[in-house]
Amino acid sequence: MSKLAGKQIIVEALKREGVDVIFGYPGGAIIDIYDTLYQQTDVKHVLVRHEQGAAHAADGYARSTGKVGVCLATSGPGATNTVTGIATANMDSIPMVVLTGQVPTALIGNDAFQEVDIVGITRPCTKHNYLVKDVNHLPRVLKEAFYIARSGRPGPVLVDIPKDVQNAKTEFEYPDEITLRSYEPTADPHIKQVEKACRLLEQSKRPVLYVGGGAIAAGAHNELLELAKLTNIPVTMTLMGLSAFPGTHPQSLGMLGMHGSYCANMSIANADVIIAVGARFDDRVTGKVDSFAPMAKIIHMDVDPTSIQKNVKVDIPIVGDCRKALAKMLKFLKDTGISGDIWKAQHNAWWEQLTAWEKRHPLSYKYDPNIIKPQYVIERLYEMTKGKAIITTEVGQNQMWTAQFYKFDQPRSLLSSGGLGTMGYGLPAAIGAQMAFPDRLVVDVAGDGSIQMNIQELATAMEQKLPIKIIILNNQFLGMVRQWQELFYEKRYSATDFQMTPDFIKIAEAYGAKGMRATKPDEVDKTLKEGLEHPGLTIMEFIIAREEGVFPMVPAGKATTEMLLV
């Protein structure tokens, strides 16, 4: 067996884990790994312009593919710059491995140049993390890192590797399989619990499937669709759950929660049974917890037991992989022999009610022939792309309008920072997705505020010749905060009214991209068509109605039935 240096072990481990692309930024404490990367071609490295971009790009790669995203940063500021990206991935359960360089072991704790305790800093925002002080541990730690990142409830794992460990040599033996006595990530859904859930479902008159990001992580979309079809149960999704169930399906009620549809929120408030699939009853979904689903018995399937009974009382917990749980449920229900017609009859009155709600307050906005409404742009984007694009968003109004007006049919086609709500996520995430899918259309829907948070990544996208399409909904406001100020702070627009906005066309051109601007509604189609068809990177700026709001809206802390409507 040959001896390998730590830096070679790292690159070798990446190959063994099937990693084809990584995102990073070099520096003194990681220069040795970069030297090793330079001498091979199996693992492609994408040089970003800021380490936060590297973390988000790895996240975007992971979200769009389901594989583990990998990023690389140097010690000190390089490592701390990844923290927002790590926390973003952690909140949304995204599998990611972050490799950071560290000062040599002898200097650790000495306040050495570019030293920071990144393992300490990221302990609360990673699934797990390691400082590797002995090269002999490196192969096992890397194997564990990938295993932990992708198994159970996925999440980011950070491995901090001192410079001397990168250069120390050892016999390289990469474990094929790994088991950790203290980590048992996958419980098989208990059949008794599944049976109980099915019995409850058989009695139900007003059931709702409430689907979260866990359904996507588990790849449960087929089982979900089949179960919904068989039982004729309506489906509502969280922001993270969008795309798990086809948005165009007649049983889809769209998103629920703070900016969810009237029908979705009303369905939860009146349901007698809720089947939560890989969702965690986040405060943006439940509103005031006491008045959330007051009449419902709750079935909750989740791979992570901590999500169950955390925010709301659950009647039938099912711990385990959502896909397996749904499959077992499906089999059980099929075996009972209740036909689709019986299910249909059982939920007939419920669907009449749902349809009435949908008719009373459909998701809508007031079209204006003189000024562009952001919802109109998203609607047109949806129609032109036929819902086939991979859409990334920034955070704020742009994100909510996208969630409301773009119908996602394919799993993993919406990449958005849900839990942490990270502005500046969309562009680097689009880079990650476009690297994974060079031939698909990748669109970043941004606001004029959030696009500026990681705008430096335009250089990365141009360098990699990525034909990403960026839509900037420009209202010269930090729109979501402005909306809160309008509604709850008597229009005191403190620090949300941009007095200066850059010329985004010139920015595009400065990077060698195509820049376009639409200021009137009748220019929207032309701009979108030309922009989407352009072979390279395009920035399409839409000057939108400045004070357009996102509606419906449930004020924070209110019951989800207390919606402010258009």
Binding site: V119, G120, R123, P124, K127, H128, N129, L131, I148, L180, R181, S182, Y183, D304, P305, T306, Q309, K310
Partner: protein, 161 residues
Amino acid sequence: MKHTLSVLVENSPGALARIAGLFSARGFNIESLCVGATLDPTLSHLTLVTTGDDAIIEQILKQLNRLVDVYKVVDVSEGEFVEREMVLIKVKAEAETRAEVLRMCDIFRCKVVDVSPKTYTIEVTGPESKIKAVVNLLAPIGIKEMACTGTIAIQREKKNP
């Protein structure tokens, strides 16, 4: 309600920080925390006393179990268990109180482990209630200093297997 948790964790750097961090980040209480070795050098045993209603305790148990380094968590206060803590108390012992302190030690079966002309240092072992009683009785005499281990606990074996 008070719960005593017995936790086996990997004897790895950062494991304790992870547990302490979990409690502070999620706003759970730690009343006492005691860490020691086990027969298996790769595992540490940790006894943690915390308070909370059933829902909070359930979350604490689940969150602890979720940590990659945590091997096993048992809420020993769910069943029969033995708990002990130890305190070293340096108490004033001047002419008029020296005899009284010794009498107290005798009653509570404490040990005098250090003697000086004006103080005794005594060792008290027992459940929390006993420690409290001793401290309350010695306080009027004058406690100069004290050091406490925190609770350690172990489940009782079934008497009729």
